[in-house]
Amino acid sequence: MPERIIVPFGPQHPVLPEPIHVDLVLEDEKVVEAIPSIGYIHRGLEQLVQKREYTEYVYVAERICGICSFIHALCYSQGVEHIMGIEVPDRARYLRTIWSECSRLHSHLLWLGLFADSMGFENLFMRSWQLRESVLDVLEDTTGGRVIQGTCKVGGVRRDIGQEKLDEMHRELDPFEQKCRDLGDVFLNDETVKYRLQGLGVITKDEAYALGATGPTARGSGVAMDHRETGYAAYGDLGFKPVVETAGDCYARCAVRVKEVYASIDIIRRAIEEMPEGPIDVKVKGTPDGEYFSRAEQPRGEVVHYLRGDGSKHLARARIRTPTLANIPPLVKMLPGAQLADVPVVVLSIDPCISCTER
């Protein structure tokens, strides 16, 4: 029997922009067990809800993550709106959908670049991030912020997008989609990419469901689960079908994200075409008294904001379950059997966001 050794992976590693640690138990070069560890940068943002007014906490919620910041703000705002019985205007719902999908687009393009980098495919990394820049430009043009948008608020949104800008965005979608499809074609069809990813880090449909996997990690294993199906924001009007792959390996998780890029472009296109006229917010009166589990679909999967108000201007509790936390148990099951050299690729295949996890 080969001798077992433990190799620490992280918390600082070239493929990890944020700290997560995994103790890898190896037999020769093969992983037989993986033990994760987090908590290097825990910020206690949940506790801050008791010191900020419920309308101000949107800014804190948005700063949980620098990638899916808008969707955190949306999920929090939706939760408070549900507790207070606030009906958001239709135009605000559509604007929220557009910015959510822009967040998903730039998150997936960011991840595709990092994933290519983890495989040593530097040219693909640069092409992915080049496309991501154009999405960030749109976010900056329409909200004023590339990373933190600050446009979502309880009762609607703070900024509108004028018709001229909407028309411009619509015109640019076709050439942008073509560039994304050219990029996606390499991820989906290049022989070296397929050779590197297929059969690696496999997790079956039953395992993914039982372990509580969420987002592309679950959908890559055939679990057709995407919270946009519940129709929050404008997804109910626009219609939505989850992107699902069945192989359960790193290639399948990559394919889900590539195809979700195309789906996001389609949703933005239809949201612009069907954008209703009208106000973008409603006046919010009173304070929240009640509780609600608000859920939304982030690029990495389902996020849960449990909010409880006691009738004061501060919420009594905000509990935030981010998708990466839910995807850690599946990661622990994916790693055994992989070679040490493949560990960075497998870890990245769940798109870990430690900023979210260390909220």
Partner: protein, 126 residues
């Protein structure tokens, strides 16, 4: 097609927790999260489950010294939430399948969200 989401909250006694969780597991529910709320000297622990966007919560009320049994024998992935419960709130959870014994989340202050901020650690399984 839009699926309507429903949320239910069911209060559960400590002695019935594992049986109720087992029942949801057998019904095909997945574990979404476990979260704690300080309710003034005690904790309200929400065990959240989902099946086809039907969201069920088992709500357990426990004192700060109450030992809570782990559900990781039923839902393997529960260890992340149960270690979090221990490391942030100081709740003694017994029988976790992967027990980090207080080292899962590294905080400058021990049990930063605890209702009592006590220094002792009763979660260490031996």
């Amino acid at each position: 097609m839009t699926v309507k989401e429903e949320q239910t909250i069911i209060d559960v006694a400590l002695e019935n927790l594992l049986r109720e969780v087992e029942g949801l597991h057998d019904d095909g529910y997945r574990l979404v999260q476990i979260g704690c709320t300080d309710i003034g000297g005690a904790y309200e622990i929400n065990y959240s489950f989902d099946k086809g966007y039907q969201f069920k919560n088992l709500r357990l009320t426990a004192g700060p010294e109450t030992e809570v049994p782990s559900i990781s024998g039923i839902y393997w992935g529960a260890f992340v939430y149960e270690n979090e419960m221990h490391d942030l709130f100081g709740i003694p959870v017994t029988g976790i399948n992967i027990d980090f014994k207080g080292t899962f989340i590294k905080t400058a202050e021990k049990y930063p969200f605890s209702v009592t901020r006590r220094g002792g650690d009763r979660c260490r399984n031996v």
